[in-house]
Every structure is written in C-alpha cells, then in structure tokens.
C-alpha cells in the first residue's frame, strides 16, 4: 500500500500476520462449525419445504417431476432468506460491528466476506443437498444436474441480496419477516432465470444460466455497497 522506505519494516510485520479478510472468514466459519445448528438447520428447513409441497399439490409423480425444479428453487429461496436476519445482527449486538467500522479494511469487503462465509455455511449445503431432494421429487438425472448447477450459480446472488435486507434491518429486534418482505420482490429476476435454467424444456439451459451468472456477478459488484452504507447508518 505504501511505497515509503520506512514502510518496508512494516511490510515484514504485515506478512507475518493473517490478512483481516481471511481472519474474518476463518472466524465466521469457525463460529458456524462450533455452533453447528446453523449448517444443519438450513438443510432441514429445505427438506421440510420439499416434504410439505407434495401434500399441497398431490402425490402425482409426473406433476412433481415437472414442477420439481421450481419447488427446489422456492425452497432454496426461503431457506436462504429466512436464515439471513442474524448475518450482521449478532455482530451489531456484541460490538464487533463497531470494530469492523474502525478497521482499515473497507466495510464493503467485510460485507462480501461475511456473505461468503454465510453462503459456505448455508448456501453450499443446500446446493449439495438439492440432488438428493430432487430424486425425491422424481427428477431425471439431467434435470438434477441442471437444478444443482443453477442453484450453485444463483444462491450467492440470493445471499448477497439478503445481506442488503439484513443490513437494513440490523437494528430491529424482529427483522426477519421485514427482511423477507423487502428482499423477495427484488429476488424475482434470480428466481425467474434460476428456475428457467433448472428445468425449462423450451428455452434450454445455456441462455438463462448465463443470465443467472450475470445477475450473480452484478450482485457481487453492487450489493456490498448498499449493505455497507446501510450498516454505517444503522449505528446511530
């Protein structure tokens, strides 16, 4: 960062310590692993939604196989958004957020790393579980692969969008429902292209999948700024 000769001594010191962002990722993953519930709860909720849907639409195998990708996507959407309200709240309550703000690391990057940690803990297990749940809905192997790929590409965008809602509702005690109300309309594009990539026979896989990847990239590029701005204003 600095080109001054005096800074060279510092450089050695910097290299011996971990970068702040890596330390944050390790910390979040460690907390997730120790508490445990975070990882399994999302998948269990996902399973519950997949289980409940056939009771609503009937046990017709053909119908379930046809709407299976949509069911998996709705379940992933809800499982992602409902687990997000604590993303920044825990840090805001115990004072860690204040220290994030006082770090030299930009808050935007901290937001991205928090989202990455959360996605690894909750989004990735959903993606990994989706082929198994897809089998329960009678999906073909090709459809299973498409659903899994589309969830892999799309769930990061959902986590990032949800992070904006989590940052906006960080100071509210019961912000979970409001988060969903705020973010569900905004996640319509991801849902449309995700489901289309997952299982639309007409349009094929490539076009919607590429658009889905574009949406995720756009979310990576834009939402951290909104979430960080909201976090800066939430303190007062």
């Amino acid at each position: 960062m600095s080109q001054k000769p005096q800074a060279e001594k510092r450089q050695a010191a910097i290299q011996t310590r971990r970068s702040p962002l890596a330390a944050l990722l390790v910390r979040d993953l460690r907390i997730g692993r120790r508490i445990g519930g975070a990882v399994s709860m999302g998948v269990v909720f996902f399973l519950c939604l997949v289980t409940v849907t056939p009771f609503a639409v009937g046990p017709d195998q053909a119908l379930l196989a046809r709407i299976g990708p949509a069911i998996l996507w709705i379940a992933a959407l809800l499982a992602t958004l409902l687990g997000l309200d604590r993303l920044f709240q825990a840090d805001a309550e115990d004072g860690s957020l204040d220290l994030f703000l006082m770090s030299e690391t930009p808050l935007e990057l901290i937001v991205v790393v928090k989202c990455l940690g959360h996605w690894l803990l909750t989004g990735l297990p959903l993606v990994a579980a989706s082929p198994i749940f897809g089998l329960m809905l009678g999906l073909e192997p090709a459809a299973l692969a498409r659903v899994t790929a589309s969830l892999l590409a799309g769930t990061p965008a959902l986590t990032l969008l949800g992070a904006v809602g989590a940052a906006l509702t960080v100071s509210l005690r019961r912000g979970g429902l409001l988060l969903a109300v705020l973010i569900l309309p905004l996640s319509v594009p991801v849902l449309i292209f995700g489901v289309a990539a997952a299982g639309d026979p007409v349009v094929g896989f490539k076009t919607p999948f590429l658009i889905l990847c574009g949406l995720t990239l756009a979310a990576v590029a834009l939402t951290p700024f909104a979430a960080a701005a909201a976090l800066r204003h939430a303190g007062d």
């Binding site: 906006l168 309309p185 289309a196 349009v203 949406l215 909104a226 701005a229 007062d236």
Partner: protein, 251 residues
C-alpha cells in the same frame, strides 16, 4: 433551491402553490373524465371496456413517476443531505402505493371481460405487482424504524437498490412472459392510437400528475408538522419547553 431547505419557506411556498395545483387538477380531471367517458369512441374490438384504459395507463405512469420522485429524493437524502428530501420521500411512498394499487385493480377489471379472468400473469401487470410489493416494503421500513433521520437514510438506500432492480425485474418478467405465453395477447394501449383516444389519455395523465403533486405537497406539509410535533413533545417530556420554542419553526 437551498432556500426551500428551510421548512418554513417551504410551507409558505405550499400556501402559494396549493390553490394553483388543486385548481389545475380539478380542471384537468373534469375535462379528462368528460372526454374519456363521453367523447372518446368505444373501441371496435374492446367496446366500452377501453375506457378503463384512461385510468389504467395514467396510474401505471404515476406508479413509475412516483418511484422516480422517490429515487431523486433518496439521492437528495444520501448525497446532498437536503433536509426536505427525506420528507418528500416519506410523503411520496403511500401515494405511489395507492396509484400502483389503482393500476392493478383497473388492470384486473379490464382483464375480466377481455381475458375472462380477474388476474392474468401478463408481463406488465406482473411487473407492476412487483413494484407494488417494493412500495409496501418501503412503507413497512418507514413504519418500523422510530428515528426519522435514520429511517430516511435506510429507506433511501433501499429505494436506490430498488431503482437499480426495477429495470432488471421488468426485463426478466418480460423474458419470462414471452417464454410461457408466446401467443399474442391484446395489449392495452399500443403504439398506434387514434387522436380521439390519445387526447383524453394525455389529459388524464397530466391530471393525475398534478393530482400527485398536490397530494404530495399536502403530505409533505403533514410530515413537517409531524416532525415539529415530535420535537416539541420530546422537549415537553424533557420538562424543558420554554415559551419561545413553540413559535420557532421546525427544523
């Protein structure tokens, strides 16, 4: 512009402008309604139902226009920290939601005779429905955050996120719609429209716009008074409401 940052100046401006816009609105809507209901011809395809268009299209226009107003107010809040910007933003949200609701219900009433069902997942209606949900989210966010200054900044951020998202939603809903309903459905309005229909439509649209401006000014005035009341109540609760405070304009 900075001059009107002072709410007292703004309230004075409202007193001057209000009769003008209110009168303009009444006139425009009266003429527009007359033209729409009695002068404009019935459509050869849709019959009398086409007259719903004179409500539906202006309210769809307002749904977008109000969001545009809120987006500029959000920029005013976040970038310029203009004290009236968050008042404008808060006052606009329920009005935008009302116009959007009107757009949806008139669309539904138009759809029943035309399409045979009360609701069709038509691309335009669906986009407007998502916009309606965003309005409701904004109103909910205003309601749950107690401190108006903080609420204003958070709502402004959400409004901007929504503003970036609305075109993407529009694009994806259009894409989704062509995917699922390739058959051509008759759309309201359209590029070619007879002058006898265009004039009532334009007049109604302008009338709706001035109606919004009038209501927006009234709602902003209410919001300024509400904040003044809040401040005075807080002073009274502190046991420190000196005589002069009441005469002092709100900040």
């Amino acid at each position: 512009m900075q001059n009107y940052a002072n709410p007292t100046h703004f309230l004075r401006l409202v007193r001057v402008l209000l009769p003008v816009t209110a009168g303009l609105t009444t006139g425009l809507l009266a003429v527009g309604l007359y033209l729409a209901l009695f002068v404009a011809p019935a459509d050869y395809q849709q019959g009398e139902t086409v007259r719903i268009m004179y409500l539906h299209v202006p309210s769809a226009w307002m749904a977008m226009f109000v969001y545009l107003v809120m987006t500029s107010a959000a920029i005013g809040t976040l970038v310029f920290r203009h004290p009236l910007a968050d008042v404008a933003q808060k006052a606009a949200a329920p009005l935008g939601a009302a116009f959007t609701f009107l757009c949806l219900t008139t669309g539904s009433l138009w759809g029943k005779p035309e399409w045979g069902t009360w609701w069709v997942w038509d691309a335009r209606l669906t986009s407007v429905l998502v916009l309606f949900l965003i309005y409701l989210g904004i109103i909910a966010l205003w309601q749950v955050i107690e401190d108006p200054g903080k609420a204003a900044r958070l709502v402004a951020i959400f409004t901007l996120v929504g503003a970036v998202n609305v075109p993407i939603i529009k694009f994806s809903v259009d894409w989704w719609h062509t995917l699922h309903q390739p058959a051509s459905v008759f759309r309201m309005g359209g590029p070619t429209i007879a002058a006898s229909m265009l004039w009532p439509l334009l007049i109604m649209a302008v009338g709706f716009t001035t109606l919004f401006l009038t209501l927006h000014m009234l709602a902003m005035r209410n919001e300024i008074l509400r904040r003044r009341l809040r401040r005075l109540s807080m002073l009274a609760a502190d046991g420190a409401a000196p005589l002069g405070v009441v005469a002092e304009p709100a900040e």
